[in-house]
């Protein structure tokens, strides 16, 4: 029991981060959607229409 508690305390920050799949999920969505999709769409949308 004491052993287990000790283990819990010792989880290093990096490991806690890697264990948090849903945080990774959010990051994995935000980065490409912002840099690729939204930025790209804004550029295309800002091209003036030919007259």
């Amino acid at each position: 029991m004491a052993d287990k508690e000790e283990q819990k305390e010792k989880v290093p920050l990096a490991q806690a981060f890697f264990d948090n799949i849903f945080l990774l999920l959010v990051l994995g969505i935000v980065v490409p959607v912002v840099f690729y999709t939204i930025w790209g769409l804004l550029e295309i949308a800002s091209i003036p229409l030919a007259k």
Binding site: F18, I21, L24, G28, P32, F35, Y36, G40, E43, I44
Partner: protein, 555 residues
Amino acid sequence: MAAVFRTCAHTGLKVHNQAERLIKVHAVAGVLSILFGGIAALLVLLTRWPAVHLLDPTNYYRALTFHGMNMLIFWIIFFEIAILYFAGPILLGSRVAWPRIGWVGFALMAAGSILIDVAILQGGADVMFTSYVPMRAVSHFYLGWILFAVGALLGVCNFFATLVVARAERTYEGSISLVTFGGATAAIIALVTLAHGAIIYIPTWLWSMGYVQNIDAGMYRLVFWGLGHPSQQINVTAMVAVWYLLATLTVGAIPVNEKVCRTAFLLYILFINLASAHHLLVDPQLSPAWKVWNTSYGMYLAVLASMVHGMTVPASVEVAQRRKGLSKGLFEWLAKAPWGNPSFAALVLSITLFGFMGGITGVTFGAEQVNIISHNTLRIPGHFHSTVVAGTTLAFMGLTYYVVPLIWRRAVVWPRLATFQAYAFGLGIMIFAGGMTTAGSYAVPRRHWDVQFANSIFQPPVEPAAYLFLGVMGIGGLLAVLGGALYVVITVVSVFFGKRIPDVAGAVPLAAVPQDTGKHTPISGTLVLVFVFLAAFIIYYFLNWKWLSDIWLVK
């Protein structure tokens, strides 16, 4: 409905019967898809080989569309969902969170793929798998895409739900295994991919029925590649997870450094999808800033991750082999590896061809400047047949030779032929892609029925060497088709007629994990290979800049 489990006698893993069944149906659908795609591969191959020039133009584009969809989308994604049902529930010893949703997802994927295949065979969708607007297919082609994407999305969500259930029910201790982590990385990328798929195909579907007037071609291309490129990155990630798994199963290797391997997966999660932009490098509607940021700064971080995996997997094999006493010189560990095991052969060929051919060409063509001399030439399919075929497909084939005994509990029939199969497919694709890439360097276009432009007003000169390399492509392709056909035959016959494997430990030979002696084990052989790789990389990169400068005279 209480979950029913069995304990695998060979691996000690707790297997939920629903997980096992879901793996089976997805794998079967995948093998059917590779059969369909393979038939089309042969037809397309024999058309692009000028000495044969088999199909007429219409049938060429029809077969090309059929090949792209069945291979790139159906075979790969069905197999990947099967892998998620293994990496989630089985590796964590958990139940599948939502078995019913799992079946609904499968049904949607199956229905979607049938709708698409029917649309293509009817002649209603000769638009290739990219289906760029304003080319228009029949509406059930787009509906098929939507159903398939939603079905796959349900499979991915089921994986995440299973992670939550496994944690809540404490079916494992500490962190999830590296293979599950790789599966999670693939699932995260898949979510981004499939969301883009839904965003682009719903309006396109409405457009195909006349409810929407106009879809902007530039925006379509941008969002489509938010689907088309990341779906390849699911492959890369799933393939890397399979590499780690195969290294354990075939030689008893364990990851040399969990933190490094997980960090590399993190780089995939963050950056790999940015590289979608390399498909749009010659599109005029996007700025150089957007192109260069997404394909250089962002992408190189993901490339770094692939190179890390390309080093840690062989390193883990080297460490395992050396601990077994095969530690003479630089390469005894490699020379005395189980080369007769089809899965090991698949693993080595997959890593080597993916890195040396797929990786190097990909990074080079993904640079904005070099892209101008490779875009839309045969160099591009030459590149991706080295990644998604020699890399991913071969790794999945290698895994199949464990899935059959462990999940179907049937012995692989004709094991020697299976070994031959892995080599024939791997070396065949190597020759095929080498010929294709080189022919592309002579500016032979991709997606083109006639290399000679016989009936066109303007006839560009084609160098004779291009024909030579198209011949090399043809011969390598035939060998690969033979390997692919053997894969389907061996798998199907094994599943139906293979000898039943008794549920006793040792009935399926799995490599033992050697004792950690506590002593430092060198990885000098791997390091030599890494430097050979880097040298090849630099040479190819500089060659391309030289070719570019020859074309683009600056005075």
